[in-house]
């Protein structure tokens, strides 16, 4: 099949549909995912095609949604659930941490819970409070979960198919601000497995490490830097857990300088981990400490101030400028 132009929302919808066609144990449920098709329309048409039993609305209770999904996964199903917005996944936290993440381990491998938790996440859409949290650190810190975040439509399709096929629970983070950005994609082409990072743009002077909504910003920064004669490599993590140490470290070693870019508050975050583990592994290849451009350690701002908080091209370039070039 040839490449086509489509949005990440289209690609995710297609992935769900194709997965449900391929395997009738795949189910989709959550709040407003039935007739409405989800507040972002990611589940559009699924109830019509697969019926009320395969794609359905639940009562309004996130712990209930995830708890029921765990039970269904224990009993032969592959549920995909939607948490309507990032911050509305918090009521399900105990089910996530104490059960979804631990079921296989508690039962010494006897009971796996193959389920996918789709979370429309992060900001940049002018949403009011509780609608723009970047909550990946909570999940990434929890052993037993896979955590992935696509940054373009093709990868969104491929990663979601792989997440649904995974025997383990996958936190699938969908950058809301990328839902409706359109790009060329050939959905028939395979994508790298979960656990693999990819170099999205080659470069020789420094490496930008990003994931999810920060990837397009990093690419833009690299483009701007190129204009100024600086060559920035961009790595898209794709998978936060498992983490692809090999690709990331190879990239950082090749440039000797790196900046991690992420929307979440920086303190005790995924970006901290990237700095820590890459530094541990690449210390003697580094010309300067790895820097971070992240959200500040503040609650997500109201719409009129989010631009101050979000990693911007300028802030990335300023940080790259700061990477002690005079020393090298």
């Amino acid at each position: 099949m040839a490449a086509e132009k489509l949005t990440m929302a289209n690609a995710l919808n297609r992935a769900l549909r194709d997965a449900m066609r391929a395997d009738d144990t795949v189910l989709m449920f959550g709040e407003d995912v039935g007739p409405l098709g989800g507040v972002f329309r990611i589940t559009d048409g699924l109830t019509a095609e697969f019926g009320e039993q395969r794609c359905f609305d639940t009562p309004l209770a996130e712990s209930g949604i995830l708890g029921m999904a765990i039970g269904m996964a224990m009993n032969g199903m592959r549920p995909v659930v939607e948490m309507q917005f990032d911050a509305f996944a918090y009521p399900a936290f105990e089910q996530l941490v104490s059960h979804a993440a631990k079921m296989r381990n508690r039962t010494r491998g006897r009971v796996g819970v193959p389920l996918v938790i789709r979370v429309p996440y992060a900001g940049g859409i002018g949403g009011v409070e509780h609608h723009c949290d970047s909550s990946e650190a909570y999940y990434a810190h929890t052993p037993g979960l896979h955590v992935v975040a696509p940054s373009d439509p093709a990868d969104a399709y491929g990663l979601l198919r792989k997440a649904i096929e995974s025997p383990d629970p996958v936190l699938f983070l969908e950058p809301k601000k990328l839902y409706f950005s359109r790009s060329e994609a050939d959905l028939t082409l395979p994508v790298p497995p979960i656990g693999t990072a990819v170099v999205r743009r080659p470069g020789t002077d420094a490496t930008l490490i990003a994931y999810g909504p920060a990837v397009p910003v990093a690419l833009e920064a690299a483009e701007a830097a190129a204009q100024e004669g600086r060559s920035l490599q961009v790595v898209d993590l794709r998978s936060i857990v498992p983490f692809d140490d090999e690709t990331v470290c190879a990239a950082v070693r090749s440039t000797g300088r790196a900046v991690v870019v992420a929307e979440a508050a920086g303190f005790a975050s995924v970006s901290s981990e990237v700095v820590a583990r890459v530094t541990e592994r690449c210390f003697h290849s580094l010309h300067a400490p790895i820097r971070r451009v992240t959200g500040f350690d503040i609650p997500y701002p109201p719409p009129k101030l989010e631009h101050v908080h979000l990693p911007s091209v300028d802030r990335i370039l300023d940080t790259v400028d700061d990477l002690q070039w005079e020393d090298s």
Binding site: E31, L36, P59, L60, G64, A87, P91, V128, I298, H309
Partner: protein
């Protein structure tokens, strides 16, 4: 408080005092006195105007989003009118009209939905909690506020409002249970408008009614016609009185309907037919009490016109206040995370300050 099932179960049908045609219905319940009804009528006119104006401001791009309470105004005004000044209101995103009925500045009441800040008014001065978006979570805060007041011997009652969808959340359960066990003076007021975004009530519960949840906590449940402001004043007023008297929490379910989309961003055509909506338009809360009051000579054209003028002033205030562009100050982002910013926040604020000064210098 009682554990007698008969006293805890709600009536089979919602209490109505004025029927959709404006005629009084004779039930055991007392009709509120005429002044109260006229006061409520004026508030209804204002609330409707507030909703209409807010919708218009969304279309004009002055508000980011608006979850309207159009058609639910009787609930909005009654739950405020039954309160004393020292009482508290715990509203949701849908209860902006109630907040304004409580006396909060309408522009401040819309700060959240305008996108300026997460909340615009002073909760302690107004005794109105910040509007809650995460569903049912604020019901527990309501219990805490009421419990603190009770420990100090204050006569405070807390009106805690939520929707039908919110009753499915675990926090709803925990709030009712804590209030009941501690005999805390909270009136839990469910505006059952039949929908949680696209999800109809039947997908939310299989119970005879939401008010039937009360008995499971030892809390008396009551059902009331949510488009009948007289019945609402009567039932909510009685609930507030009982709570204040030390009878513990009360649960009131108002049966109403969300005639408009969930918010301006919603598309109800995907999940319900216009035919379902039409009968509810005939049950409009304003016409009903207006017919009743006019029929009894308690309201005339001049008075109505006067309320219209007042409502128009409210709308004018909204247009003026929201028409201005506000200047958002980035320092606010760092100033209120803690009472004192941490060293880390100071550094982060300095980084932004530096960026801005370099931008200006360019």
């Amino acid at each position: 408080m009682t554990r007698d099932a008969a006293l805890l179960l709600p009536s089979t049908e919602p209490v109505t005092l004025i029927d959709p045609d404006g005629n009084p219905v004779h039930v055991g319940q007392d009709m509120p006195d005429p002044q109260a009804l006229v006061h409520a009528y004026a508030a209804l006119i204002a609330a409707r105007r507030f909703n209409d104006q807010a919708n218009a401001l969304v279309r004009q791009g002055r508000l980011a989003v608006y979850p309207s309470s159009h058609g639910q105004e009787a609930c909005q005004v009654a739950c405020v009118q039954v309160l004393d000044p020292g009482d508290w209101l715990f509203p949701t995103y849908r209860d902006s009209a109630a907040i304004v009925a409580r006396g909060v500045d309408p522009v401040q009441a819309l700060t959240l939905l305008r996108g300026d800040w997460h909340s615009g008014y002073d909760p302690l001065a107004t005794r109105v909690a910040p509007q809650a978006t995460p569903l049912a979570t604020h019901l527990l805060h309501a219990v805490g506020v009421a419990h603190a007041a009770r420990l100090r011997g204050e006569p405070t009652v807390v009106m805690a409002v939520c929707g039908d969808g919110a009753t499915s959340e675990g926090d709803f359960h925990e709030a009712l249970n804590f209030a009941a066990v501690f005999r805390t003076p909270v009136v839990f007021f469910i505006q059952n408008n039949e929908y949680a975004i696209s999800v109809p009530l039947a997908r939310q519960t299989a119970a005879p009614s939401l008010a039937h949840k009360g008995i499971g906590y030892g809390v008396p449940g009551a059902r009331v016609d949510g488009n009948d402001v007289a019945a609402l004043l009567s039932v909510l007023g009685a609930a507030v009185d009982r709570a204040r008297a030390g009878d513990g929490p009360q649960l009131v379910e108002a049966h109403t309907y969300r005639v408009q989309p969930h918010t301006n961003a919603d598309d109800p055509g995907r999940y319900r037919s216009a035919d379902e909506v039409t009968p509810w338009l005939a049950r409009d809360p304003i016409t009903r009490v207006e017919t009743y009051l006019r029929g009894r000579g308690l309201l005339d054209d001049d008075t109505i016109a006067g309320y219209g003028v007042d409502a128009e002033k409210l709308a004018e205030t909204m247009r003026a206040g929201l028409g201005e562009d506000t200047v958002a100050d980035y320092r606010d982002l760092f100033a209120h995370v803690y009472a004192e910013p941490t060293p880390q926040l100071r550094e982060q604020q300095a980084l932004v300050a530096d960026e801005l000064s370099r931008e200006e210098a360019r």
